[in-house]
């Protein structure tokens, strides 16, 4: 049990660092991948624990919030939501192929991005609509593509919740 928890902490830490470092160079135009959603959904599908993906999403979102303390807690709640949704639908997702899972990640990333844009405000309705149409939509597609590759590499989940 301890090695699993330790591994989870190490992976979460690595993802948090990557999310605040490699995302910049990965940016293509307005599109930025959302590694929090990818991590939360991947953990949600591949882990036996129901709570770990939720806590992971919360932790990763919290680290992201530290770059904008005025909304400290918002990203954490959205990250926890991503973990919660992925755990809630994981039985169905695990039986589907990587493309369906990637679409799920993409839609989730888009929804969370829209909530984030609306919550933080970017200077009026027109500006918010533009951000949603440009960065949120392209970012969601980009996130989906990255998660598709990741799901192809990881293969089908092997943990016991499927056969329970």
């Amino acid at each position: 049990m301890i090695p699993v928890a330790l591994g989870l902490v190490v992976v979460a830490y690595a993802v948090a660092v990557a999310n605040a470092t490699v995302v910049g160079p990965l940016t293509i135009g307005p599109a930025r991948p959302d590694l929090v959603v990818i991590a939360a959904v991947t953990f949600g599908i591949h882990m036996r624990s129901e709570t770990a993906p939720v806590l992971l999403g919360f932790a990763l979102g919290l680290v992201g919030d530290c770059f904008r303390p005025s909304t400290l807690g918002l990203g954490a709640a959205l990250g926890a939501f991503a973990g919660f949704v992925s755990v809630s639908y994981r039985q169905r997702l695990a039986l589907e192929g990587p493309s369906v899972r990637a679409v799920f990640v993409s839609v989730l990333a888009f929804v969370l991005s829209v909530i984030s844009v609306i919550s933080t405000g970017v200077g009026g309705v027109g500006a918010a609509a533009w951000v949603v149409l440009s960065s949120s939509s392209t970012g969601a597609v980009y996130t989906g593509v990255i998660s598709f590759v990741l799901f192809l590499l990881l293969g089908r989940p092997r943990y016991g919740y499927l056969t329970r």
Binding site: V22, P25, D34, V54, F67, P69, L72, S116, S134, G139
Partner: protein
Amino acid sequence: MSILARLVRVPRVVAFVSCVVASAFLLVLPGSARRAVADVVLSAGFRPAQGFVLSLGSLRSLSEENSRLRRALVTLALENAALREREMEAERLRALLGFASERPAEVVAAEVVGMQPGPRLHTILISAGRSRGVARGLAVITPEGLVGRVLDVYEHASVVQLLADPSCRASAVVRRSRALGIVRSIPSRGLVLDNVPFTEDVRRGDTVLTAGLGGVFPKGVLIGTVSEVRADPSAMFLDVRLSPAVGAGRLEEVFVLKRRPSEPHGSAGASADTLVSEEQR
């Protein structure tokens, strides 16, 4: 059994509700407490790892950059010598005219150790904080041009608000025609130079510098070049779009300009360089 009692038995629901409660608690914290939490999270072992990962990415280009910098050093040394001569001449003339002397601001070099995750890049984390004399509101630049200003300061790190943030504004001047305006970022249009009367002479390719009118940014720092100018006869102002001099997504090292001790904090014309603070939102 009630629905609530059933939900309480589902671990993921309990975890999610706990996270939401914790998030709500964080959101209602006062600004200073939120910054303290952010300081703890970023400083407690996270920042060094970020710096290490980012430095790994730059190792490959180190040799190439080294030779480029050596060449630039020679050029700059020659240019510096010429400029010193001109500076002395200017100082003599300023003294004759009775103008106050202009001294260069002190700078603090810092590495970019993190970038704001999420769909939009509006802030970065740098490796210099209160311990090195960095304070809120100081201008941040690179040799290429203006980056933004310090938004939040922690003991050994600071959050920098980029010019790409829509709430960031800087007074600016077109180098060739001296036309004044306000530079800001609009999500649908990118970086623009606002409030330039249509009678002003602004052309594609013109260089835009900080005007130094607001007390936040020093005068003469490169902001970008004019990429497009539209003159609508029915409008009072020109529609001027800019290409930023600094690509924020690939920043590695920046310089914080420390305010001169003799300079009053937030001098006259503070409305020109407006960077909405987090508390004001």
